[in-house]
């Protein structure tokens, strides 16, 4: 099982804050985005179009990053911390 987390604007797009998926022992961000493209097309497109960042276990990932069972994957829209 891997845990997926959605933040900020992605929560309403995905319709959830968090979900658990069973993707076997090893997959990649690319493969995950293809799976998501079927259930939540907008999220899949944003990942592949690099509109949002993906992190694996709190580290920024690329499409090639390998995801292991037990990992936490998060979808991060452009940051807007700070003032102004």
């Amino acid at each position: 099982m891997i845990t997926l987390k959605y933040f900020a604007s992605l929560k309403s797009i995905a319709g959830k804050e968090e979900e658990q998926l069973d993707l076997g022992n090893e997959t990649t961000v690319q493969k995950l985005s293809e799976i998501l493209a079927k259930t939540t097309p907008q999220i899949g497109e944003m990942i592949q179009g690099k509109k949002i960042l993906v992190s694996v276990n709190q580290d920024v990932a690329t499409l090639d990053t390998v995801i292991h069972d037990g990992d936490e994957v998060a979808f991060l829209p452009p940051f807007s911390g700070g003032s102004q």
Binding site: A8, S55, Q58, F79, G82
Partner: protein
């Protein structure tokens, strides 16, 4: 002083005292000659619209980790004595404190450079998001300059 004060990077709901954070920083060294502080506060206007409420959300653990990386890089790259960073989350009113960066150096030049770099880098690399509420509703801000 509470144990919370001892951490040099914090993400918290409650407000902070700039004076207390500066005094905590002064305890680090007796050789501080210049302290530069950036304090970000909630503005009333954004792109011509009146804002009534701001709200911040973060990715716990990752945001704190990014701030600590940022702090260590600032100390190393700019040869400052120390830096502390606090970012608030949750609802924030106009005029309230949002973010504080305190950079302490032996001289002022490196403290100015480190502090300005740190706030720019925080906005670029730290998973924190702002929503603004105006008369037309609440929107997540995506395009900070």
């Amino acid at each position: 002083m509470s144990s919370v004060m001892e951490s040099k990077v914090r993400i918290q709901r409650e407000d902070f005292s700039v004076t207390d954070e500066i005094e905590a920083m002064k305890k680090v060294s007796r050789n501080i000659g210049g302290i530069v502080v950036f304090l970000g506060t909630g503005r009333e206007m954004s792109k011509g619209q009146n804002i009534t409420k701001l709200s911040f959300e973060h990715y716990p653990k990752m945001a704190e980790k990014k701030l600590e990386e940022l702090r260590l890089k600032a100390i190393d790259d700019y040869k400052i004595i120390d830096m502390s960073i606090i970012h608030r989350i949750g609802e924030i009113d106009i005029g309230e404190n949002i973010v504080l960066i305190v950079a302490a150096g032996e001289h002022r030049k490196e403290a100015f450079s480190a502090c300005e770099w740190a706030i720019t880098e925080l906005k670029r690399t730290t998973p924190i998001w702002k929503s603004e509420t105006t008369s037309t509703g609440e929107v997540w801000v995506q395009d900070t300059p």
